[in-house]
Symmetry: C2
Subunit: 464 residues, 2 copies
């Protein structure tokens, strides 16, 4: 095996955890190599967050035009939707950002080594079994991949995961999405806007398990208004190919039913990419689901090896991976920084209405504090929302009952994902309702809903 | 003169300062009367912030459709724009919110007295000279009205202010806007999107005097890309009616030029509505521009009379008025609260790209601290912006050189007005760059640009 030499840090996987961690390491003066078998940027940039947002931008414009165009005096004689062009835009977006990451590697003098990395010891990684890369530290950041239940064979034609869907230029007439998590509902929304008749099947009794139930219920109402058929407490049982289409057997409370459709999108879950990484041989412990066990500083059971992002366990989110990539490197580099804190990792879903939350749900807060201050404000009472015809949803702010410290925020509505950061900062700074109220919110903005919900939590709502 | 009886608080003017202050007073247990000669909600709700945002929502959709539709696979044959319908939507939006304010008065048991209020003494206001309303406290909140230079006769046909424009159902073929402040540029954008050929004439040497010059320059570039002719350092001299149109003489550096157009929108400035309010007789002092002089608790020279909002001086913004309405009432009611702080009043402009800022500009910070930490991040490097095709503009974060305390943020870009609040809270809480960096920002959002600009201010940008 030839050698690439020794680095301060060898990163395996150039997704949002690995590439960001590598850049941070370079900023701290480390000599860094990063190994990637696919495209730099990882699933997030190439087959997840970014290309789906490109699709969602199109879907949003279609919805705005068809629902609100006439109100704004915008009429068209013949509207034609070409989903293939949207896919082109999505791929171009990913390509542009992927090139951007390669540019960042050059700028930061990080050596990108293409190929599949595998631990060859506590301080070395082999690439495609041919080249050895040594490092004082090794950071594993291989992420996760789609999990598909047994019996569901992904063929890219009739059965897809998000990976195949992102290259599929056709919109099926009838689509069934299995799973009402973030991925499932974002695709459901996109396909519905571009003309599919969409059914969502979800085992749990709410969309977005993990979200505040009121938020999930509001989202469900809006999806039904868009003619998306949402079936909760419903389990996927079996799939049969039927001619050019598919027959899906699902069951609810013991009753089974057949759903006939043209395509199935499986969006059920993800599993860590910990297989064939050489973990066992190197002595790196994993849990029963295959996630690498790490301590508070993201170190694995082998002191020189850290693991971050999806590979190290949930929540499986790009920004959590980036945070951990930075943190792992800073811990090693002895940077003066706080401990890693996962209490305030935001969750964002980008269908319309958008969903976004951070911190404790109302129920979690009531359990933790015995009680909670909770304030809500609906976008139907927001001047900016009415002006823009985006009045679905609401903001809910949750504070501790004694000091009014903000401990959670839950949003469903048009601009939810970009409204959340104020509440994220509030959690970081342990801000109180009083401090949110003391902050001037510009009028008219959707962000006033955060202020109003906070006022409501103190029993002094102004505009509702 | 008949009497309406005595109240704890009499508010003159039901705009965003008066009506919000009245609600706060009612919450504190005061018996409140509010006098309004026009529609509840004031200029903001009826003839300003709100109806213009309704127009801007349409303009934004037109731009998205015509600029980006094809990228998203959305093609339309025979696009027709009916500006009259947009005006209808704008009026309906104002009507709905105006009714909402009346509902809030009922809910809070605030007595709305229609008519023109005039001070009749330190504790009394006459309404239309017929009815006397007495109050332990009187709060003046009559706002401001458009100022038009001598010789510019507003006829609602050829020469308009924003007031007339908001009811004008026609789009002129050629429009000249005098004044590149918020009002002028928002209308310029709306008219341009609905088909006008628009020229903006501004005396100052940048758009949005008061904005960070880099932000203003970026906005100007984008406006020029939209074929809006922006003329800076240019002074309005004279207007002549010419047939069905108008000839406007303007001058720049002593050279005069004639602009021929169909309509002129005067958006030059505003003046306080302090005339005929009975201020002199009551002993309420005003400054040389007619603004009521107030102390730190918004009290005028007469102890029982406060003045808030536009009437009490700049910045002439609805949210500043609301804050003062609340503050004035809380000071009188002895509420435990902090002093009124005008250092962190956000400014938002809602054309595309949007402009938003809070706190010190880079130049102001350098002057105050001798130096400044400044970080910028362009939306061309934002994954979410690229996905949505909204890559114009940037975020600039300004921090003090010693502690990295955030002292200003300046944004130009698609979602600028809703991104600002995180920075508003940062100013309220005297947050540092370190605390912004410690806050997880969801990926992919435009809000990551705030994080990246903050990282850049510390010399450690990740994605640029």
């Amino acid at each position: 095996m030839s050698s690439k030499g020794r680095f301060d840090l060898v990163v395996v996987g150039a997704g949002p955890g690995g590439y960001v961690g590598a850049i941070r390491a370079a900023q701290l003066g480390m000599r860094v190599a990063i190994i990637e078998e696919d495209r730099p940027g990882g699933v997030c940039l190439n087959w997840g967050c970014i290309p789906t947002k490109a699709l969602l931008s199109g879907a949003e414009l279609v919805e705005d035009l068809t629902r609100h165009g006439e109100t704004f005096g915008i009429t068209t004689a013949g509207l034609v939707l070409d989903y293939g062009k949207l896919i082109d835009h999505s791929r171009k977006t990913a390509d542009r950002l992927c090139k951007g990451v390669q540019g960042l590697f050059k700028k930061n003098q990080i050596e990108l080594i293409p190929g599949r990395g595998r631990l060859a010891g506590p301080n070395s990684v082999s690439v495609n079994g041919e080249v050895l890369v040594e490092g004082d530290q090794v950071m594993l950041a291989t992420g996760s991949s789609e999990w598909v239940p047994p019996g569901l064979e992904v063929d890219g034609e009739r059965v897809l995961t998000s990976r195949e869907a992102l290259e599929s230029r056709q919109v099926p007439a009838r689509l069934v999405v299995i799973g009402a998590g973030a991925v499932g509902i974002e695709f459901a929304y996109v396909y519905a806007m571009y003309g599919s008749q969409v059914t969502i099947v979800e085992m749990a009794d709410q969309m977005l398990p993990g979200a505040d139930p009121e938020v999930a219920a509001a989202l469900q109402r809006e999806f039904r208004r868009k003619q998306i058929d949402v079936r909760l407490g419903t389990r996927y049982e079996e799939l049969k190919q039927a001619g050019a289409g598919v027959t899906l057997t699902v069951s609810k409370e013991g009753q089974s039913e057949e759903l006939v459709c043209d395509q199935v999108l499986a969006a059920i879950g993800r599993r860590p990419r910990s297989q064939d990484l050489g973990l066992d041989e190197a002595g790196v412990q994993v849990d029963d689901k295959g996630f690498v066990r790490v301590d508070d500083t993201l170190r694995s059971s082998v002191a020189s090896i850290s693991a971050i992002g999806d590979l190290a366990g949930g929540p499986l989110l790009a920004h959590k991976a980036s945070e951990e990539g930075i943190a792992a490197v800073e811990f090693v580099g002895g940077v003066d920084r706080g401990p890693l804190d996962h209490a305030a990792i935001p969750a964002c879903i980008y269908c319309q209405p958008q969903v976004a939350w951070v911190g404790l749900t109302e129920a979690q807060a009531r359990e933790k504090y015995g009680d909670a201050k909770v304030g809500k404000f609906p976008f139907t009472a927001s001047g900016k929302a009415i002006a823009g015809q985006h009045t679905a949803g609401f903001v809910k702010v949750v504070a501790d009952p004694e000091y009014g410290q903000i401990v959670g925020a839950h949003l469903v509505g048009h601009g939810a994902t970009e409204l959340l950061p104020e509440m994220g900062l509030a959690l970081t700074l342990e801000a109180t309702t009083r401090e949110i109220i003391a902050t001037t919110h510009a009028h008219p903005t959707l962000s006033e809903a955060l202020l109003e919900a906070t006022l409501a939590a103190e029993g002094r709502a102004l505009n509702f």
